[in-house]
């Protein structure tokens, strides 16, 4: 690093450029926040107001009245938690099997799982719709949760992590008479907290923001998740931007907070999937 250190003036230049870029990254969010507190008329003022001259906090309660926002919220939370817990349990089990146990056909099966990653989800979409219809799962929580708990990516990510753990621990546990499940549960899982949190964040983000799958698989108002709820809200109030922005703020804030608190794990997870990929 030392040899790569830079002079004071170029350090200043780097800061200026980084701040400039950060302004471009952040302005849309500030604008969203600012608009969400304006009256409809104030939102169309030219020149625009950065800080609203009078604050309309009621925009948020209006959104809650106009659409069944709390229901969409609840649905999204149920789906997100269901998928995340399911993935953590099933993917970590499979990852342990692939990383630590020996059985015939292991490598072929693992390559087959990786090949799932190559097929774009749109290819699977149409037959999935029919399968879900035959199972009578359309427009239920099953369709939103169950297919989402089987993840080739999650299995791959955790398997890569388990491979980096020293095998001695396992052998020591074996001498103590521990079975495979106990080794998995009491040795491997506690050592893998950071990788598990990384996978959890990926899954939470993916299911919280997912659009196409719930768009196709659900139809009733009470099964809507946030992304669909907001999209249809936009359809009804195409130009009432203060209300739309209030909805957008409410839909995005939980994920942004989650990221800010857990970003270390997130960055680690990306590095883990990136380098080994």
């Amino acid at each position: 690093m030392k040899a790569n250190a830079i002079s004071k003036s170029s350090r200043l230049l780097v800061h200026v450029l980084l701040i400039l870029g950060a302004v471009i990254m952040v302005t849309p969010f500030l604008w969203m926040l600012s608009t969400s507190f304006k009256s409809f008329a104030a939102s169309m003022k030219v020149p625009p107001e950065w800080i609203p001259s009078d604050w309309h906090f009621e925009n948020y309660s209006l959104v809650l009245e106009k659409i069944n926002f709390s229901r969409y919220y609840l649905n999204t939370i149920i789906v997100t938690v269901g998928r995340t817990v399911g993935q953590l349990v099933l993917c970590s089990m499979a990852a342990y099997g692939f990383a630590c146990l020996r059985f015939p056909g292991k490598n072929i099966i693992f390559v087959a799982i990786l090949s799932v990653l190559m097929v774009p989800s749109q290819v699977v979409m149409i037959p999935s719709f029919v399968i879900m219809r035959e199972l009578d799962w359309l427009d239920t929580f099953y369709v939103l949760i169950v297919p989402g708990i089987f993840s080739a990516f999650g299995t791959f990510l955790l398997r890569q992590f388990f491979m980096t753990l020293p095998r001695d621990l396992e052998e020591a546990a074996k001498i103590d008479g521990a079975g495979y499940f106990r080794i998995f549960w009491q040795v491997y899982l506690p050592l893998s907290k950071s990788a598990l949190v990384s996978l959890a964040i990926f899954t939470v983000l993916y299911s919280w923001n997912d659009l196409l799958w719930p768009l196709i698989m659900t139809s009733s108002e009470e099964m809507r998740v946030l992304s669909i709820g907001i999209a249809s809200f936009q359809g009804q109030h195409a130009t009432d931007y203060p209300l739309l922005m209030a909805g957008a703020v409410m839909a995005t804030v939980p994920v942004i907070l989650l990221f800010i608190f857990l970003q270390r794990y997130f960055i680690e997870g990306i590095a883990l999937s990136g380098i080994k990929g």
């Binding site: 030392k2 040899a3 450029l17 980084l18 870029g21 950060a22 990254m25 849309p28 604008w31 608009t35 003022k45 030219v46 099933l90 089990m93 499979a94 099997g97 146990l101 020996r102 059985f103 099966i109 087959a112 799982i113 799932v116 097929v119 774009p120 989800s121 290819v123 979409m125 149409i126 037959p127 999935s128 719709f129 399968i131 297919p147 708990i149 089987f150 299995t155 052998e171 020591a172 074996k174 079975g179 923001n209 196409l212 196709i216 992304s227 907001i230 999209a231 739309l244 922005m245 995005t252 994920v255 942004i256 800010i260 970003q263 960055i267 990306i270 590095a271 990136g274 380098i275 990929g277």
Partner: protein, 315 residues
């Protein structure tokens, strides 16, 4: 203790030659192995592999999703070639992909190099650049639609104060796709930068030290050391970004979905698959479109794998 562990490890590994007794252990281990992987493998087969195969078969049929599908051979594919709407969607997808990915990766490289400097506030910068990545695309699309608004939008207001032309962004077919590309770049730079940053952190400082001794300047070091040693990460970012960009849907859905007349200049292949499958219930045709998309992605990925020899340097 250590010795005991190593011994046990060796015994475990030396299973193969001795037969009876150990093979019972091996069977035991194999049963547990299958048990551990069974749920995920079964789930992936049911929800991914079987539908993939079904999709392949369906693409040779005409099917409304209800009656029984009728086999029509390659008709869907020959229809695709004459379908101007689809060809346009393929062109749009290519323009979107080759507009978004190079721009995003180039900016992300610069950003990663900056973030790799020993400067204060690195975590704050990283957080700010990353927030667009994690934000719900639907919300992102809505905010940008508002920013792009030709009369009351912030962007045209700023352009106006600078006496620059104020295009009708999303409602002008010359600008619509470009506007969406800008949003896609904005929301993907942070992700690519984080991957590239972890690549940069893996470059040994001894290279830079040696170059400094030879009196090399900053730019020389960037082009002769940083860039070549970053190529494995760049390769990974390019491959995954291209795959992702070919599947663009959310932004177009939220920003253009209600404007049928403007969709022609922004419709992507995935949008077309969704329309054909779930608006017109032409599921065989939609499956054929999905298969073509898969093949295009596959060819581009294989080409990248092939050409990586020419430019990717592994340390």
């Amino acid at each position: 203790m250590n010795d005991a562990v190593t011994l046990a490890g060796n015994n475990g590994q030396a299973k193969m030659p001795r037969k009876r007794k150990v093979s019972k252990m091996a069977i035991h281990e194999a049963i547990w192995g299958y048990a551990f992987i069974a749920p995920v493998v079964l789930g992936l087969v049911i929800f991914y592999t079987l539908p993939s195969v079904a999709s392949f078969v369906l693409s040779f049929t005409k099917w409304d999703g209800l009656s029984s599908p009728s086999f029509i051979g390659l008709e869907n594919f020959s229809a695709l070639l004459q379908d101007e709407k689809y060809m346009r969607a393929m062109l749009n997808t290519m323009l979107y992909t080759f507009g978004t990915v190079p721009l995003s990766v180039a900016l992300a490289t610069i950003l990663a190099v900056f973030l790799n400097q020993p400067i204060k506030g690195m975590v704050v910068y990283r957080t700010l650049y990353f927030i667009p990545v994690i934000t719900m695309p639907i919300a992102v699309g809505m905010v940008w639609k508002w920013l792009y608004n030709s009369e009351f939008g912030l962007i045209n207001y700023i352009l106006g104060t600078l006496n620059l032309p104020q295009p009708n962004w999303l409602f002008d077919e010359k600008f619509a796709l470009f506007s969406i590309v800008l949003v896609a770049v904005w929301s993907s730079v942070g992700y690519n930068a984080v991957i590239l940053l972890s690549g940069l952190q893996g470059i040994s400082s001894s290279y830079y030290e040696a170059a400094s001794l030879d009196g090399a300047g900053t730019l020389y070091k960037f082009f002769r050391i940083t860039l070549p040693l970053l190529t494995p990460s760049l390769f990974f970012v390019l491959v995954t970004s291209l795959i992702g960009a070919f599947q663009a849907f959310d932004l177009i859905f939220i920003m253009m979905g209600k404007q049928e007349s403007l969709l022609d200049s922004t419709r992507t292949v995935v949008y077309s698959i969704w329309e054909n499958g779930f608006k017109y219930f032409d599921m065989g045709y939609a499956s054929a479109q999905a298969l073509v998309l898969f093949l295009v992605i596959l060819v581009i990925t294989v080409l990248q794998m092939y050409f990586q020899k020419k430019w990717v340097h592994y340390q």
